[in-house]
Symmetry: C7
Subunit: 247 residues, 7 copies
C-alpha cells in the first residue's frame, strides 16, 4: 500500500501527462449523492437525492438558488459548494448592478470554470471538490451546464452525476430526444424516473429523499415543496403500475 507517484500536488505532471490531484478531486464528485438535470425547450429541471443530516436537522442541501433565473445542484464537498454558490450569487448581483440585466447563464458558468481551473494550476491551493449542474433561463432560452473540479464545463440537454449515476445516464440517453417539447411537469416526471434508476433495486424514492427544482420561461427558480414532490411520486407510481419503466 504505497502512495501513488506524481500525485503530490496539482502542479505536478505524471509522465503520462496526467494531473492526479485533479483526478482525485473528481472522485469526490463521483461519490456524492446522485444529481440529475434535464431540459425542454422552455424549462430546466434539477433533481437530487438528499441524505438526512439527522432526524431533526433536515437534509444536506443539494440544490442552491443562485438568482431568480439560475440555480445549481451539487455533488461532492458541501463546504466547497457553498463557497462556489456564494461566489455565483455575488457575480449575479454584480452583473445586475453594472448592466441592469440578469447575467447570461453561460457567462456565469464560465466564471466558475475559470475560478476552478485557477486552483488546478497553482501551489498553495487545492482543486475544488465539487461538481455542479447549473440550470438557468436567459434571453437565449433554457440552459443546463455541468462543471468539473478541473475547470471543464459542458452545455448539455440532460446530465447525471454522483454515486450510481450511470443508470440515470442510461435512462436519460434513452429518452432525451423526447424532452424538447415536454411540459414542465412531464420534465419533472422524467427527472424523477432518471433519479429512481440510480437507486438500488430495493430502494424507493420518497418525498423526503428527493429535492427537485425547476426554472424556465416565466418560471423563476423554484424548489418544489414536499407536497409537490409527493404528488409527482404518486403520478410516477400510478404510471409505473400501468407500464414497466425500462432502464
Amino acid at each position: 500500500m504505497y502512495r501513488n507517484l506524481y500525485d503530490t500536488d496539482c502542479i505536478t505532471w505524471s509522465p503520462q501527462g496526467r494531473i492526479f490531484q485533479v483526478e482525485y478531486a473528481m472522485e469526490a464528485v463521483k461519490q456524492g449523492t446522485c444529481c440529475v438535470g434535464l431540459r425542454s425547450d422552455t424549462h430546466v429541471v434539477l433533481c437530487s437525492l438528499k441524505r438526512a443530516v439527522s432526524k431533526f436537522a433536515g437534509h444536506h442541501q443539494k440544490l442552491f438558488k443562485i438568482d431568480d433565473h439560475v440555480g445549481v445542484a451539487m455533488s461532492g464537498i458541501t463546504a466547497d459548494a457553498k463557497v462556489i454558490s456564494n461566489f455565483m450569487r455575488n457575480e449575479c448581483f454584480h452583473h445586475k448592478y453594472v448592466y441592469d440585466a440578469p447575467i447570461p447563464v453561460g457567462r456565469l458558468v464560465l466564471m466558475v470554470a475559470d475560478k476552478s481551473q485557477a486552483n488546478t494550476q497553482r501551489s498553495g491551493k487545492r482543486p475544488f471538490g465539487v461538481g455542479l449542474l447549473a440550470a438557468g433561463y436567459d434571453d437565449a432560452g433554457p440552459h443546463l451546464f455541468e462543471t468539473c473540479p478541473s475547470g471543464n464545463y459542458f452545455e448539455s440537454y440532460a446530465m447525471a452525476f454522483g454515486a450510481r449515476s450511470q443508470s440515470s445516464k442510461t435512462y436519460l440517453e434513452r429518452n432525451f430526444e423526447n424532452f424538447p417539447g415536454l411540459s414542465p411537469e412531464e420534465l419533472e416526471l422524467h427527472a424523477m424516473k432518471a433519479l429512481q434508476a440510480s437507486l438500488a433495486a430495493d430502494a424507493e424514492l420518497t418525498a423526503d429523499t428527493v429535492s427537485m427544482a425547476i426554472v424556465g420561461k416565466n418560471q423563476p427558480w423554484k424548489e418544489l415543496s414536499t407536497d409537490e414532490v409527493q404528488s409527482l411520486l404518486d403520478k410516477l407510481n400510478a404510471e409505473s403500475a400501468g407500464e414497466d419503466v425500462q432502464m
Copy 2:
C-alpha cells in the same frame, strides 16, 4: 505504525476524494465535551458539560455570548473557539454599526463557515479544530445552527456533539417533535435530560458540571446561574423519580 498516506496537509486529495486533514480536525470536535442544543418555536437552549480546569480556577468555558441575540456552545480546541467567537463578536458589532440592526443569525453563521472553509483550501494555515452550536433569535424567530471545521453548517431543531454525544442524539430524536410548543423551562429540562443521556451509567449531572444558556423571544442570551441549574436538576430528579426516562 506508519503515517497515513495523503494526509500531509489540507490541500492534498486522497485518491478516494477525501481530505484527511479536515477529517482529523473534525476528530478534535468529537473528543470535546458533549454539547446539546434544541429549540422551540420561541426559544433556543444550549447545554454543555463542563470540565474543571482546577479546583480553584473554575471550568473550561464552553458557552460564549456573542451578542444579546446570539451565543454559541463549542467542542474542540478552546483557543480556536475563542478566536472564532471574537470574530463573531466583531461581525455583530460591525453589522449593528452599519445597518443599525442586529445581524441575522444565519448570516453570522455563514461568515463563520466561509472563514472555516478558507482554512481547508489553503496551505500555510490549518483547519480550525472547533465545532459550534450557534443559538440565536432574530426577525425570523429562533435558530439553531451547527458548524464544522470543514466549513459546513446545518440549521437544525436539535443537535448534540462531542464525546459520547450519540446517546444525547438518540434522546433528541425520540423527543424533538414535542419541542416546538414547549415553554423555555420545559426546553431546558429536555436539554438537561439529553445531556444526561451522554453520561456514563454511574455518572450524574451536578450544578457544577453543567453550563446552560437560553436565548429567544424577549429573552436576550442568558447563561443560567448555578442556582438556576440546580433548581432544574432538582426538578429533573423529582421527575425521574416518578417516571423512567427512556433513552
Copy 3:
C-alpha cells in the same frame, strides 16, 4: 516502478539538461484527439476529431473562435485550453481597442508563448497541458502556428498533432506542396483526408466526429455546420471510390 529522478518540478534540471515536467506536459498534448491544420495562399483550415461527452451533451469542444480573423484547435487538457483561449480573446479585444485594428496573428501567438514559457520557469505554477494550432488571416496573409506547453511555437504550412497524428503528418508531407494554390473547398478536403489518415483501419469519419473551421481572405472564422461537414464527407467518399488515397 520508482519515480523518475529530477522530475519534481519545472525548475529542476536533469543532469542531461532536460526539464522533465515540461516534457510530461507535452505528453498531455500527444494524448489528446488528433488535430490537423493546413493553409493555402489565401485560407487556413483547422480540422479535428471530436469525442462525445455523452449522447445528449454534444462533444468536447476542440475548436475555439478567438476573433473574426483567428481561431484555434487544441489538444490536451480542455480546461487549460479554455483559459488560454480566453486570454487570447482578451488580447484581441485589447489590441482592437488600443490600435483600432485586428491583432497580427504572430503577435497573438507570441503572447501565448510567453505566457506558457513563464509557467515553465517558476515554482508554484505548472506548465500548461495544452498545444494549440492557431489559424488566422491578417495583412500579411494567412497564418498557421503551432504552440507547445514549453512556450515554443512554429509557423508552418501544415501541421498535425494529438493521438495517432503521425499518419496525418505523413499525408500532409506528401501533399503540402500542392496546397498554396488550392481553393478553400479543396483545402477542406485535404484536411479531411489528413484527419482520416489518423484513424484506425476500421474507423471512419462521420459528420458527428469531425469539427472543421476555416478562416482566410474575405472569410472570417467559420466553423462548418454538420451539413457542410457531411457534404464534404460525401465528396471525399465519392473521390476515394474513384481513386485510392495514398497515405
Copy 4:
C-alpha cells in the same frame, strides 16, 4: 527512537485531532521553574523560584512588571517571555494613550492569547514556548490569569505551573477557600508555602531563590526586596516550627 508522526509543524492535525507541536511547546512551560499565583478579594501575589545565571550575574528574571496595575510571572523560554511582556507593555501604553485609563487586565490577557493562538495556526512561525501568570488590579478588582502557548487562558483564584508544581497546586487546593479575606501579608505567606511545597524534601527556600511580587487595591505592582522576602521566610519558619505545614 523514531520521530513521532504528525508533529512536523503546528498546522498538521494528527488523526486523533491533536496538534503535537503545540503540546511540545507546552512542555517547555512545564519544565520551567515553578511559579505560584493567588489572590484575595483585594490583592494578587505572584511568587516564583529563581535560578541563578551565575554567581555574579543575578538570576533569570521570572517576574516582569508590565504596568503599575499589572505584572506577570513566566515559565518556559525566557526570550519568548520578554517578547510577550514587551508586547503587553506596548498595549498598556497604547490603551492609556487612547482611553486615558489603565487597560482592564482581562482585555490585556485576551490580546496575549490572540497573539499566541495566531502562532499555532500558521506555518512559518512557531508557538510561543512560554506560559504566564498575569496578576493585576482594575475597576473590577484583583485578577489572576493563566495563559498557555496554545492561546488558551483561564481566570483563577490560585494557580501554579512549572517543574514540580503539582505539590504547589495541592497546597493551593487545600487552602484557597481561605484566601478571599486575607491581608496582603497573609497572602504572601500562603504563596511562600505553596512554593515551598514544590521543593524536593531536602531543599529550602532562601531569600536568594524566591521572587515575589504583589499588586492590588491601593498597591501598585511591587516586587519584594530581598529583605522583605527574608522577613517573610523568617515568619514562615517561626510558624512551621509551631505547626506542621500539611502539603
Copy 5:
C-alpha cells in the same frame, strides 16, 4: 541509479563548491545544435546548423535579430531563448528611446548576464537553459560575445558551441589570426568551414541546414537567404576541390 547529491536546486552548494543545477543547465546548451561566430575588424558573422521542425514547417529558429546593429545565435531550450531575445529587444528599444542612440553591444550583453545570474541565486526560479552568441556593431566596432546560463560572458574573436562544436573550435583556433583583415564574404566562408567541421564525416552542409547572418560596418543585421547560402556553399565546394580543408 541514484540521484546525485547536492543538486536539488540552484541555491545549494556542493561540498566542493559547485552548483550542480547551473552545470546541468549548461548541459542543455551543449546538446543544442552547433553555432559558430567569428569576426573581422569590421564585421561579425554568425552561423548555425538548423534542424527541421517538419517538412512543411521550416526549421527551428536559431538566429534572432535583436536590432539593426545586433543579433544572436542560440543553443539550448528555444523557448528560453525567445524570452531572452524579447528581453533584449525591449532593452534596445528602451535605450534608443532614452538616449536616442543604439545600445552598445557590451551593455546589452551585460544585462542578459545579470538577468541570467539572478536565476542562479534564487529559489523559485530555474537557470535559463540557453547559451547565446551575440554579434553586433557599435561605435567601438564589431563585437562577438558568448553568454552562459551561469550569467558568465566573454568577448571573443571567434567562438563555437553546441553539439560536436569541439571540431569547429579547433578549426577556429587554427585560423582566427587571419580573420581581422578579411572581407565579409571571406569571413562567411570561414564560418561555413568551421560549421562543416562539426559535422559527422559523411554529413554535408546544404542550403537548407545552415543559417547564416552578418552584421558590421555599414551592414545592418542581415540573415542570408537560401540562395546566398547556396552560393557560399558552391564556392566552398569549388575551393575544397582545389585544396583540402585542414581541420
Copy 6:
C-alpha cells in the same frame, strides 16, 4: 551517525519542549575565543583573546566600538557580529538624533535581544550565531550585559564566555566581590588574570593575543594599544612572581 530528530529548523519544538536549532547556534558562541567582561562602580572592562588571521593581516576583530559610551566583545560567527554591531551603531545614531542624548545601554541591548529573538521564531531566517558582552556607561552608571543567540540577555557584574571560559568564570566568581571599588587599572588587571585562567597550562598571554577595552565615568570607549596591554602584562607578571594567582 544519524541526524538528530526535531532539529530541522528553529520553528520546530522537540517533544521535550526544546528548540535545537537555537541550541546549536549557541554552540557557535561556545566555540569562539574566550571573552571576559567585568565592572567596578565606575568602569567596565572587556577583554578577549584574539586569533591571528595571518601574519600580515592582523587579528580577527573581537572588540567593536559602538558609540562613545558603549562597545561590545563578541564570540561566534564574526560576520553575524558585524551585522549586529552595525545595527547597534545605527540605533545609537538614531537615538542621539531623536532625543539628543546617548541611548541608555539597557535599551540598546533590549533592541539586540528583540532582533535576535525574532530570528528564532520565524522560518526563512536562522538564529544569529553570536554572543555579545556589551559594556557601557550611562546616567545609571556602568553596565555589563551578555546577549545570547536565543534573544536572552542578562545584566551582570562579571561574565566570561567562549572556549574554555569556565576557568575564567571560576576566577571571576572568586574575586567579583572585590570589583566595585576598584580603580580602572586594577579592573584591567583582574580582566587579564581571568582571561589568563582560560589558557591551557603551557600557554601565555602576550600583547599580541589580547584585546582590551574600557569604558566608564569620564572615560569614553577606548581600546588599549599594544603598549598599554604590554605594560599591563608586565605588572601582571611582576605580581604573579610575588604571589601565586589562585584559580
Copy 7:
C-alpha cells in the same frame, strides 16, 4: 557516499555550531585561480593567474576596475563576481553623486560584506561563491581588504587566496615586513614572486597568464599591459638568475 548532515541550506545550524553551506561556498573561492595582493605605504598591487577561455577569446577576467581609486581581484564563481563588482560600481557612483567625493575603500568593502552576510542568513538565496581582494587608495592612504562568502572581511598588508595559495602566503609572510617602503615597481615584483610561488614546480609565469593591477598615491587604478607584465617578468628572471628566490 551519503550526503552530509545539516548542510541543506544556509539557515541550518549543525549541532557543532557550523553552517556548512557557507563553508561550501568558501570552497568555491579556494578552488579559483590564485590571487595575490600586497601594499606599500603608498600603493597596492593585485596580481592573479588567468586561465584562458579559449585561444581566441582571451582569458577569464580576474581583475575588475571598480572606480578610479579602487579595484578588485576575484576567486570563485565569475558570474557572482560580476554581480558584486557591478554592485560596487553603483555604490561608488552613488557616493560620488551624493557626497561629491570618492567613497572610502573601507565603507565600500563593508557594503559588500553586508550584502554577502545577508545571503547567509536567509532562505531562498544562496551565499555568494566569490572572494575578493579589494585594493584602493583614499584619504587614509592605500588599503587592501579581503572579503569572504560569509560576509567576513579583513584589512591586511598582504594576502593570497585561491588554488595552491598557501605557498604564496608563505612567501608573503617571509617578506611583508619589507613592503611599506617599497616603490611601486618593487611591489609589483614581489607580487609576481608571490604568485610564482603558487605554481607547480615545472610551471612558469608568462605575460599571458598573469594579470596585474596597481592603485595608489597619484596612481589611479591601472591594469598592466602585456608588455609591462613581460618587462616585469624579464626583471624577475634576471634577478632569479643572480639569486635564488626563497619561498
